[in-house]
Amino acid sequence: MMEQEDKLLKDFLQSEEDMKAPDGFTDRVMSKLDQTAIKNSKPLIPLPVRIGVLLLCLAIPFVAIFGGDLPKDNWIHQIELQDSLNQSIQFLQEFALIGTLVVVILAFILIDRILRSRRKMSI
């Protein structure tokens, strides 16, 4: 009884038209897969090298800002600097530090993306 009932419904429901994937579906999927492959591929620049370069890049502005003594005859000593000017310089120095860091990270991401997509194209 149950089987007969199921067969009946099967015959009825299977009369619905076959549904085909739309035209160009495969191309759209493949382009998505290519993007996924680039995102998921192994980084070409090894992690220790990345960290090393990053630390080096960070060290440069640190040394430049906090490292050496200013020369005695520096113009800063020759004029009376107001507090506000001092603060502005300090702000600019900190800004330079953060800016350098951001630029380095962005450059890394960009270089890595370019290298990965080149490797993808060469396959």
Binding site: K10, F12, L13, K20, A21, R28, M30, T36, N40, I123
Partner: protein, 186 residues
């Protein structure tokens, strides 16, 4: 697609070659799209779901051990992706007044061949996505109960109950639709 072909795809995917996935997409795109469309009842959503299914399959293809058929594995991904997609979109099923009915040959026989498509379309719209999914898998795609269990990850008894309930609901809706049609003709 046999085991050798699957292993070949796995190997080439490890080498970073995505183009080896094209035959797989071509072979299963209609199946995946049709199932996604049956669950979502929207061609736009179905395409989105089907694309996501292949991306997910690509990402986890190396974990496919071949214990089940590749089609069953893809059905499984389609089922979960479609239900999650509809849950995110918060698509609600339209409430429909009907009386649950047992299988009745006369109801199905009364529906003319040319009206079948329209009736099925309408009746399926009033089922919940999970009910549409099991109806599609079992009755339309002719998957066995065990395969439906694998795909939905529900227990065997849950699948049977869900199938029975969906079937009764479908008959009820079809009966009601037919009644409405007859009333409109009189």
């Amino acid at each position: 697609m046999d085991k050798t072909a699957i292993e070949h795809i796995k190997k080439r995917l490890r080498e970073g070659d995505t183009s080896c996935f094209t035959p797989l997409v071509n072979e299963f795109k209609d199946m995946v799209y049709a199932h996604a469309l049956k669950i979502s009842r929207s061609p736009v959503d179905a395409e989105e779901i089907a694309q996501d299914v292949f991306v997910k399959a690509y990402k986890s293809f190396n974990s496919f051990r071949g214990d089940s058929k590749l089609s069953t594995w893809l059905y499984q991904i389609t089922y979960t992706t479609a239900l999650n997609h509809l849950r995110k979109k918060k698509v609600e099923t339209t409430e429909y007044t009907y009386v649950e009915a047992e299988a009745d040959e006369s109801v199905l026989a009364q529906i003319q061949k040319e009206d079948k498509k329209r009736f099925i379309e309408e009746a399926l719209t009033h089922l919940k996505p999970s009910e549409r999914a099991v109806i599609d898998l079992f009755y339309m795609q002719e998957q066995s109960i065990d395969e439906v269990v694998q795909i939905t990850r529900l227990s065997k008894s849950n699948v049977k109950v869900l199938l029975h309930r969906s079937k009764k609901k479908l008959y009820g809706i079809l009966g009601q639709l037919l009644k409405n049609e007859l009333n409109s003709l009189v």
